[in-house]
Amino acid sequence: MSIPFADLVTIIPELLVVGIACLILVLDPITPTHKKDFLAWMSLGVLGVCALVTMSGFGGSAMAFSGLVLVDAYAAFWKLLLYLVSGLTILLSMSYLKEEKIDLAEYYAFVLLALAGMMVMVSGADLLTIYLGIELMSITLYIMAGFKRFEARSIEASAKYFVLGAFSSGILLYGISLLFGVTGSTRLTEIAAAVNGSALDDPLMLLALMLIIVGFGFKVAAVPFHMWTPDVYEGAPTSVTAFMAVASKAASFAAFLRVLLEAFGGVKPHWNVLILGVCLVTVALGNLVAIVQTNVKRMLAYSSIAHAGYALVGVVVAGWVGTAADISSRGVSSLMLYLAIYSFMTLGAFAMVAMLRKGGLEGEEIEDFTGLAKRHKGGAFLMMVFMVSLAGIPPTAGFIGKFYLFMAAVNAGLAWLAIFGLIFAAISAFYYLRIVMVMYMREPSPEQEKHTRLVLSPQVSVVLAFALVGVVFLGIFPGPLVSIADLSVIPISSLK
């Protein structure tokens, strides 16, 4: 069996990323230690090339491998976001890994492999393709979570992530197999046809749908499938945490939304209420539990859960029955916009945590930020901008994200959902502002003054600059990104 050349052309970015990942693994042992940075730059280079390739094909839509892979504008949007996020993660890691003394080159290979998995996820048109992507991403992330292999916490995070991740993958796969039994296919389009034609209340089908939602619920860290998140986010190296919180969440949402809308778009009543329930408890629990955290990484973990809840508002709108097609697609595009904005502010916040050093450790306690404004004005200001944006207060991008999400909700007749979300956004301001408070309004103890410092290498500065520009620029000029998101929604004609 030969693979048609045209199919390979559609997946050039995936091939490049995997190829370079393998090349790094080969080059690693033969590269002298002081030149290992070269491998990181190489992985950045391939991301740049991939971005160019994806951009050049933006707007087109190509099906490959007899309907297993679909490269459309929707996939391209997510891929571009993932390249950017992975690139910033690599830049952040270059400094962070050195500080932590775990700068091994295979780390960059893992980043690329996880990225390849995510790329497969976002352009999968078949449940099995998506599943393969999820597994490639997850297995790589299990390893990365345990990358501080001499630290018990990191190993524990890895093990915990592995057990729960494998469990959720099993659930997802079980759902896929049931669905295959009912519909006779794993192609999203064929499932859609079967679902639309069959009796809507087939218990097997409902079970399959539920299992799939649960499986994805784990991956996007929605309540009640979020239990792994705080521990894994806290234990994993911070650069990995940032990568997980941003990239893996974005990719999982992308695949989740595609499966729901393309395969189950015809049976919205069967899942939209379930998603709505998950959305409500996720927003509420994420924000409430974040209040009592004293560890910044844990707090950001709960905050990322809460943000997953907000993103689910977009899914709810997209799946709301009785809304016109343009309103549903507004739900999709607002979710895309939200996650893109979320990526900038969360990456920025994690970069600050990673680079605030306390002796040889990272300053991950909220207390470690005490009085930062006195010692490092710029750093404190950046952290304040990220926190304000996470809280959704204008003129930052966080506000724009929430604005579009809740506007879509109001448009779909869900004004009460907007009120609910905004109430919890106001509550979230309490814990985000606590960091601003300790930075600006508390005096550091002499000990803190002596031991904590902010390491701003050129690479980290680039990451922070990107995050800041993203948060501020998108807050003031969101127009271009909004248009791109609008152009990239799942073709609405396939929605019922």
Binding site: I393, P395, V482, D486
Partner: protein, 527 residues
């Protein structure tokens, strides 16, 4: 009636918005020792740049003037739309006028992180002006929320001992109030013809049931900012803990945003609901007047006393607004300006004395008349202005408000008038104790009289107090057309109420205020 009066040429409003931000940049780059001069310079330039608004303003029209409109975000269409009318223009000037004074009052009072302080103040200035001039609802909301951050920092970084609590309370209270406002804006967008244009939304009509919901959504945001009873509890904390400049901005400008919101949005957009819920607002306002005054009476901290007096005074403003007639609303707008001047001045006076004695306790600050005669003179002037002595600014405003309310309901006006008497009690009691009481021997050596900077910043305020008190016509002329339009949007039910009262307020004024007898105070009753 034309909706928009094009004023081609210089984009004055953008200039006024941008200048403080340029000042932020300059302050940021400047050396620490020069930062005050630079910030003061920019704020003065901003004030000068805002003067054309006053001099070029066309009193004859109720339309928006100095309008600028550019598409900002295309989907949904959000515009960078600015403009002022007779209600917002004086408030813009109040802001640009007070900001230099706030910098002057902080000249030596702020001892740490001067640069950041000045930057926060200037950002605050842009955000507050932005709220007054925005003609796009989203733009309005962005400015409305943006100001929370600098204010949070002003209170939390440079405030008193309990500043962190006060800062977070202020922040969460006002943020929570704004939640429903944002949802209301979104609902209006879909109900009012898919636009965020404030003027277009004003012209759309909404079903009474929707109006009721929107009214309370607006109310939540605006009542917290005013603050109306029972949402006022953040105010005493914020005022007491904030540095002097913070208190001045808070009292003089921030509180006006709430009442401005009522005037710009609640009344014109939701006329039926405004009429329907007037009694509730009136009752809350009267409670605020009396309760605020009583609370002020019981305070031993000067700043807290003035903070509660703010609650009482702002009660007059909401009272006047919801009288829904020309006198009441003009009185309310005037009273917004007056409160900004008088209470701002009083907070400055407190700041001056606090800088010397490091105490705000009434009992520890006595006998200032002997030790600081110039200071005492100013304090007494502002205190009397706050009481509403004829010939001074507050008298005119409160009087107009009471006329307006009297037309609405005699009993309400009578009870509200009690607030003025109570104001006299608590203010005069305060003056008696700190100006004329015995000086504490411990404090006496520290009581040096005003220096030229302090003298210089209080003089313009005194001038305004008497100018508005004796010759309010120019200011009222500016408002007439715009206020008339707000009143005209009110539905027939109000006009029925007003039929009982066709008395020309100019006539009424001339009976009470002899010096005004010759003034053609042509405030007209609503048609």
């Amino acid at each position: 009636m034309t909706e928009v009066v094009a004023t081609g040429g210089t984009p004055w409003l953008t200039l006024v918005l941008i200048l403080p931000l340029l000042g932020v940049l300059a302050t940021l780059l400047a050396h620490e020792s020069m930062s005050r001069q630079i910030a003061l310079g920019t704020s003065l330039v901003t004030f000068v740049a805002s003067l054309p608004l006053w001099f070029v303003f066309d009193n004859g029209t109720a339309g928006m003037q100095f309008v600028e409109k550019h598409l900002w975000i295309d989907s949904p269409a959000i515009h960078y739309a600015l403009g002022v009318d007779g209600i917002s223009m004086p408030l813009v000037l109040l802001t640009t006028f007070l900001t230099p004074l706030c910098i002057l009052v902080s000249w030596t009072a702020i001892e740490t992180r001067m640069k950041e302080f000045l930057i926060s103040l200037l950002v605050m200035e842009t955000a507050t002006i932005g709220v007054f001039v925005a003609l796009d609802f989203v733009l309005f909301y962005i400015f409305w929320e943006t100001m929370l951050i600098p204010m949070y920092l002003l209170i939390g970084v440079w405030g008193g001992p309990n500043r962190i609590y006060a800062a977070i309370k202020f922040f969460l209270y006002t943020l929570a109030g704004s939640i429903l406002l944002l949802v209301a804006i979104l609902v209006l967008y879909f109900e009012g013809g898919r636009t965020f244009d404030i003027l277009a939304l004003t012209h759309a009509s909404y079903a009474p049931s929707l109006q009721a919901l929107l009214f309370w959504a607006f109310f939540a945001a605006f009542a917290v900012k005013v603050p109306m009873f029972p949402f006022h509890t953040w105010l005493p904390d914020a005022h007491v803990q904030a540095p002097t400049a913070g208190s001045v901005i808070l009292a003089s400008v921030l509180l006006k945003l709430g009442t401005y919101g009522f005037l710009r949005f609640s009344l014109p957009m939701l006329p039926d609901a405004s009429v329907a819920y007037t009694p509730i607002i009136m009752i809350l306002s009267v409670i605020a007047i009396i309760y605020g005054a009583y609370m002020a009476l019981a305070q031993s901290d000067i700043k807290k006393l003035i903070a509660y007096s703010s609650v009482s005074h702002m009660g007059f403003v909401t009272l006047g607004i919801f009288a829904l007639n020309a006198q009441g609303i003009e009185g309310a707008v005037l009273q917004m300006i007056n409160h900004g001047i008088t209470t701002g001045a009083l907070f400055m006076c407190v700041g001056i004395i606090y800088e010397r004695t490091h105490s705000r306790e009434i009992s520890e600050n006595g006998g200032l008349a002997n030790a600081m005669p110039k200071y005492a003179t100013f304090l007494v002037i502002f205190a009397l202005s706050s009481v509403g002595l004829p010939g001074m600014n507050s008298f005119v405003g409160e009087f107009l408000v009471l006329i307006g309310v009297f037309a609405w309901d005699k009993l309400t006006a009578t009870v509200a008038a009690l607030g003025i008497i109570l104001a006299a009690v608590y203010i005069l009691y305060l003056v008696q104790r700190i100006v004329y009481g015995p000086a504490s021997p411990k404090m006496l050596p520290r009581l040096t009289d005003l220096n030229s900077r302090e003298f210089g910043m209080l003089v313009p305020l005194v001038v305004l107090v008497f100018w508005i008190g004796l010759y309010p016509k120019p200011l009222l002329d500016v408002m007439h057309a715009s206020v008339k339009r707000v009143v005209a949007t009110q539905s027939a039910s109000v006009i029925v109420q007003q039929n009982g009262m066709a008395k020309d307020p100019a006539l009424v004024m001339s009976n009470v205020l002899p010096s005004a007898a010759s003034l053609p105070l042509d405030i007209e009753a609503a048609p």
